[in-house]
Subunit: 226 residues, 2 copies
DNA sequence: GATCGTCTCCCCCGTGCGGGGGAGCCGGGC
DNA sequence: GCCCGGCTCCCCCGCACGGGGGAGACGATC
């Protein structure tokens, strides 16, 4: 493929770790059709930079000290006219922050440990308006080709369930092995509240216990393995 | 099991955090058959200490200021005759440094948040040159530089676990959502037997409960969704 | 013969889990 | 205005789960 005859894709890097920024810059700058036009260490600095630099793509960490990637994404999309595409960067798969960011309007995400070629690919795709949303695209990117979308029964169970937002959050955390108390701490609510959500989602999913619920989550592709 | 009649296993601790060293020392010294013979705060100090103390096992942090665990591992294996076994210590699962260290010749790894019993277990097994560790399989996977079929940590956890045939059967049934009683019925054994297998397998996988074990099963590809 | 690991089963015991109920608060929709 | 769904928190309660032990039977290995 030849990209050199197109306008280069301009990218703004936003990550609190200089090391990560340097790595991304090295990877992306190695491409003739990609240009890193700026860097920021926190979400708070993003908006003025976006206004000034007008990048095609913002590669943004989700976890940052002052203003995280979720809020920054919302802020950019809310306040900037003709906003750039936003790719959120994360260390962990199954990072619930990522889902928040995607809900906030991000166009895709990538893992820090992805291979250079995958990162480049992701940036190009997003720049072209292709939005890499959830598992299927990720698996494709990750090269774990061939995996199915999910067990139809499990998918159906999840769709029928019509979980509320909070229930989905709880299920994601359950699927990462957290206990009720740990989930409560993470969501900053009482354990009784978590138990309430758990009971509710178990009933909706037709699961007898949390283990069966997590199985359904995996089988349906609601959470993605590796 | 009685260990006291054997020669004690001698251990050298290498970690830049004094707190971690203290914790490891406390855990290991509580065992009659394990003796902590020295400590170092950085990889750079390891080689002379290894020459002087001749420990059976070096428990080494991967991330250290001057000389990290990867380079230190290489250095020890390259320059010391009849080198000790090396266990790398890490805070994070999904730590690519760990895989680097394994490629460099480390014999195993453990998470800082592992339970004392697991840490002790790991040190003993490594000291015995036993199969706890990453046999060829993991090193191969790590060296294949490629994507694995699953989350590397989960794969590693399963490899390291070395589950018995029965334990694997039980894990598969757990991963299908069966309760202990149901598994017992399926395998035509008593529920106490199943509980015994479950406890054993949880310990080996480093899982706190059956849900975490099932997650590991999915993440590693031990059971496949869909 | 002695040792070891696996599989089997048993005990006690604490607790996290999940069921079943209820209740207050808030925002949106009728 | 009222009602309803979602989120929050509370109670009681039974039980499966998991940790801590131990022990006998069997086969493989040394």
């Amino acid at each position: 493929m030849i990209y050199a005859d197109r306008m280069p894709v301009t990218v703004l890097l936003v990550d609190d770790e200089p090391l990560v920024r340097a790595g991304l810059r090295a990877v992306l700058e190695a491409q003739p059709d990609i240009e890193v036009v700026g860097e920021a260490a926190d979400g708070a600095a993003v908006i003025p930079l976006v206004r000034q630099l007008r990048p095609d793509v913002v590669a943004m960490d989700v976890r940052m000290p002052l203003l995280d990637g979720i809020e920054a994404t919302r802020a950019v999309l809310r306040t900037v006219a003709d906003p750039p595409k936003i790719v959120v960067i994360t260390t962990f798969e199954n990072d619930e922050y990522v889902y928040e960011a995607l809900r906030a309007g991000a166009d895709g995400f990538l893992l820090k440990r992805a291979r250079p070629a995958e990162i480049v690919h992701a940036v190009r795709l997003v720049a072209e308006g292709e939005s890499l949303l959830f598992p299927a695209a990720v698996r494709e990117l990750a090269g774990a080709h061939g995996r199915l979308r999910g067990n139809p029964d499990a998918v159906a169970a999840l769709e029928r369930a019509a979980l509320t937002g909070r229930e989905e959050e709880v299920l994601r955390l359950m699927a990462r092995g957290l206990s009720n108390a740990e989930i409560a701490a993470r969501l900053v609510v009482g354990t009784e509240t978590v138990k309430s959500h758990v009971s509710s989602l178990l009933a909706k999913l037709g699961a007898r216990d949390r283990t069966q619920a997590v199985i359904t989550a995996y089988e349906s592709g609601f959470v993605a393995p590796g």
